[in-house]
């Protein structure tokens, strides 16, 4: 299953709840304000790095660039574009949006 998260983890609990309910090995894609979860050196970073032992973390490049944080992404987070998002939605059997 592909999980999408579009909320900033500094503001809302969506990423937390996603991490608590996604199955080990799942793909989690951060989009829109959700990409702030991929920010390196923040108070969330340790939690995200820990989650990356269990999940594959993706972040949408166009959203990172819009927000000026494309060069501040946690190592190991895979940056993809909209075409990559479509590919992920195909490769996984379903998509769960954590709003």
């Amino acid at each position: 299953m592909l999980h999408t998260v579009n909320k900033s983890p500094f503001e809302k609990n969506s990423l937390d709840t996603c991490l608590a309910h996604a199955k080990e090995g799942s793909a989690i894609l951060l989009i829109e304000d959700g990409v702030y979860g991929a920010l390196n050196g923040s108070k969330m970073t340790a939690q995200i790095q820990q989650a990356m032992e269990k999940f594959t973390l993706y972040a949408l490049g166009p959203d990172l660039k819009a927000r000026g944080i494309a060069d501040k992404v946690i190592d190991g987070v895979k940056v993809i574009d909209y075409a990559g998002f479509v590919d992920l939605a195909c490769e996984n059997d379903k998509v769960q949006a954590w709003l």
């Binding site: 579009n6 989009i31 939605a89 998509v95 949006a97």
Partner: protein, 130 residues
């Protein structure tokens, strides 16, 4: 692969409609099929032809209409959600005793069953909201 896309927020206020549009465009470019785009909650506000965004910004509504025209997309606006928020086509306007309608080209108003049907008939449902 066959996609249904749900858009749950209106234009400009949230990025949901932008993200859905970029996803739809990328899917079509890869040769996938968009079975339906379903506009729900404030998402119905994407379907008004009365917007006049600033010249230097994107036109969210026209962009959906153009994509629908080019790819023969089925853009469905939930009737119950539309009634609450003031989105009407000629029929709805008449039925509800209104003196105007505001639906944009390429959108049609229909029931929630169209969302469920999208879920049944498509390989994937992808939701963009708040």
């Amino acid at each position: 692969m066959k996609f249904t896309i749900q858009v749950s927020e209106g234009p400009y206020n949230h990025q949901a409609s932008d993200s859905a549009y970029q996803f739809a465009k990328a899917a079509l470019e890869k040769g996938h099929e968009i079975y339906r785009v379903f506009f729900y909650h404030d998402g119905v506000n994407n379907a008004t032809r009365l917007t006049t965004p600033p010249q230097d910004d994107r036109n969210v509504v026209n962009r959906w209409s153009a994509l629908a025209e080019e790819h023969n997309l089925d853009l469905v606006v939930c009737v119950a959600a539309a009634q609450r928020r003031g989105i009407a086509d000629a029929d709805e306007s008449k039925r509800n005793g209104k003196d105007a309608d505001n639906i944009a080209p390429g959108f049609r108003i229909s029931g929630l069953g169209q969302l469920i049907e999208g879920g049944i008939q498509s390989d994937r449902l992808v939701i963009f909201g708040d």
